[in-house]
Symmetry: C2
Amino acid sequence: MANKAITSRDVDFAKWYTDVVEASRLAKYSSVKGCVILEPNGCELWDNIQFNLDKLFKETGHKNVKMPMFIPESLLEKEGELVKGFAPEVAWVTHGGSKKLEERLCVRPTSETLFSDYYSSVVRSYKDLPLLYNQWCSVVRWEKETRPFLRSREFFWQEGHTVHATSEDAENETRRMLEVYKKFFNEYLAIPVISGRKTEKEKFAGAVYTLTLEALMYNGVCLQSATSHYFGQKFSKAYDIKFLDKDNSYQYAYQTSWGTSNRMIGALIMVHGDDFGLVLPPKIAPTKVVIIPIGEVSEEVNRLKNILSNASISFIVDESDKTPGFKFASSEVNGIPIRIVVGKKDLDNGNITIFRRDTRENIVVSKDIDIVSKLNEIMEDIQSNLFLKAKKRMESMTFEAKCLSDFESIVNNQPGFIKASWCGSEECEVKLKNLTGIKSRCILESEKPNDTKCAICGSDAKHLVVWGIQY
Amino acid sequence: MANKAITSRDVDFAKWYTDVVEASRLAKYSSVKGCVILEPNGCELWDNIQFNLDKLFKETGHKNVKMPMFIPESLLEKEGELVKGFAPEVAWVTHGGSKKLEERLCVRPTSETLFSDYYSSVVRSYKDLPLLYNQWCSVVRWEKETRPFLRSREFFWQEGHTVHATSEDAENETRRMLEVYKKFFNEYLAIPVISGRKTEKEKFAGAVYTLTLEALMYNGVCLQSATSHYFGQKFSKAYDIKFLDKDNSYQYAYQTSWGTSNRMIGALIMVHGDDFGLVLPPKIAPTKVVIIPIGEVSEEVNRLKNILSNASISFIVDESDKTPGFKFASSEVNGIPIRIVVGKKDLDNGNITIFRRDTRENIVVSKDIDIVSKLNEIMEDIQSNLFLKAKKRMESMTFEAKCLSDFESIVNNQPGFIKASWCGSEECEVKLKNLTGIKSRCILESEKPNDTKCAICGSDAKHLVVWGIQY
């Protein structure tokens, strides 16, 4: 029987999502409209995501910095496309104490402007390059409709901003960081993704082009999961980032930026979760194991605690005064990968019970086995099982459309990734969006069109594009 | 010869401080008035402080959460004293996009209001208590004069907020967290502190009482370094945090808050730094060792790299194209505790040279010694040496005043901590401040007055107080 506090995911997916967020105590709406509170479970999960992804950034030579949270209006306005893209949704600070500010400041919606301003003051010579910086922070966008982890007025993210001497270096960085994200999604979050280039309409305001990772949720809705932008010299010209090159000439630098956010937590919920709550892949779960003692079993529990501590497997022991049933349900809601039940009866037969969250199987094992090897083996199996299950689902929900009515019938039946050829015109994107709600997710650059004609207008096809309904 | 980019600390302390911040690339002023950028060295140092202090918080049962950065005006106003204390220095968001907000929001200057609002919605029963939460974030206070790490409009800090069923539990928590900070200052930052209670005039707006740690900088100026506040039921009554007690009656909860900030970096600079730049205690230095190769010595450098990696001693190798002299100076400016110079000549004699940053001594050792033990031994010695040196200085700069003219002559000659008896009246505090610029730092609760009379007004003394000039 599924958790009573959680609506079935096949009955009402949106309600199921909200129920899981609440029941697993990841986040809670605050008294500040459109802003959530990350409760201990949500904060710990985000901290663990940050810790692991940050390691990948450091391994690829990146360093962290911290920019101010405010951007003066005049600084924001220097790059025309960026300000056009973000001005409608920024929060403005107009007063400091009781005084009106001479110039209003926006709370950063993204920090290209601040990084570029900084780079213009520190980049002097080709010897200073590349500069590979990143920051972890929260940003603010004044959204109308909000949803925990998917869309909120303040959200947590990281934004990498790099400066290079050549376009080649900058483009390599743009691709390289997409690969870093892909590795993280596949190997840590156990989430399969497709990658490609955004269309001109969907690219980041101010970018020459945007690369993206797109993931598919359980209900067939797409989630833009990480993006990596190549800026060329757009910002360096607007913010005057020049350097003295090897040949003694002044050159404008080339830049990139790339980011991903606490949407990753939304993706974890909607890719792996079930009617019992959250399901966390072991590599990203802050707590890998919960031990639940039933009866007088403290000796065995202490023995296990020692073994797990020595093996650096993070665990908790639920010694609260709740019933075993309550403890089981709560460890499942929280998505803890493995539960070890140490019961008096089992123990009298020399056994303990291992429960794996992904398949909800109980495995009775002798308490004398090599428990660390067993747990590691199960965790590896959970990790790959979750990825393969999600991948199989993504593949089964990837469709092809040859004409407009194909799009319509797919989206009315079972939405998903829809592959279709496209002529390259924005008009077709707008038309499809208006008729069906479907938007382009990305251009598959390495694949040829699956038809000679655009599935929307019938003109000559230029690209194979993945389309879908998006969060 | 000291670093040319750095003014001598005995000539112009304020200029020296700014020079060290700039030369060590900890921080840089941004285009946003009163806000700094934490550059990679500063960010890494702050991250490392956070990592280590957070461990102490977790060991004492605390969990992290993340509150929104905004506070609606009506929520801020619920606790009268707090709003009086902070209203003159908050930044107000009045517009979202092009629309005027119905209610303006301040950017958090501190988060008692948000935590209390949250607690009022989750605390139901005595079984829910205590709740021991903390958050790492930045806060904003619209200061007029700013200085990197000491006073800036946006700064990084942590704020713990806890709820308890009894006043006794809450008061224990208030004292316990002051001890945690003291441990961190003494054992990690190698900074000695005095601790005590703030006077009514100097306590936190909204607190019943405030405990504080005060440190003494090289120039004799005091730095309030960490505070821990007992709130009693002030906020629980204002924000309606009630719980059902064991006896089935509803009770208002008892609360605390406690915080410390990136001022710690300012303290590290001003307690340990010298004319060659930053001096970091090994326990808090992100990089413990820099290896500088001179000539063809790659085999030996690789050998050392392996040894240090295996021993988990964080290090960098400076293989840039700069001169050895430049590299020496730069490793010193950055305060790296130990430098290993691997020079061709030394190596031909079987030696390498170890330089310790605190005493600036070179130690020539055989390359065949147990290098890990040697480094650990030197790092421990640096750590305790820095603490003892600072403690000795603090003691030599702790004075006693028996009358007003004592205060004046101390502060005109060599400021420091000034112990003096006090009658308990705010008038005396105001008078002393106006005459000499000296403020009360804290009441030494466990010590008796050193005179029967107040050093300022001559009435009966109630407390022994430490006074000083403050940042």
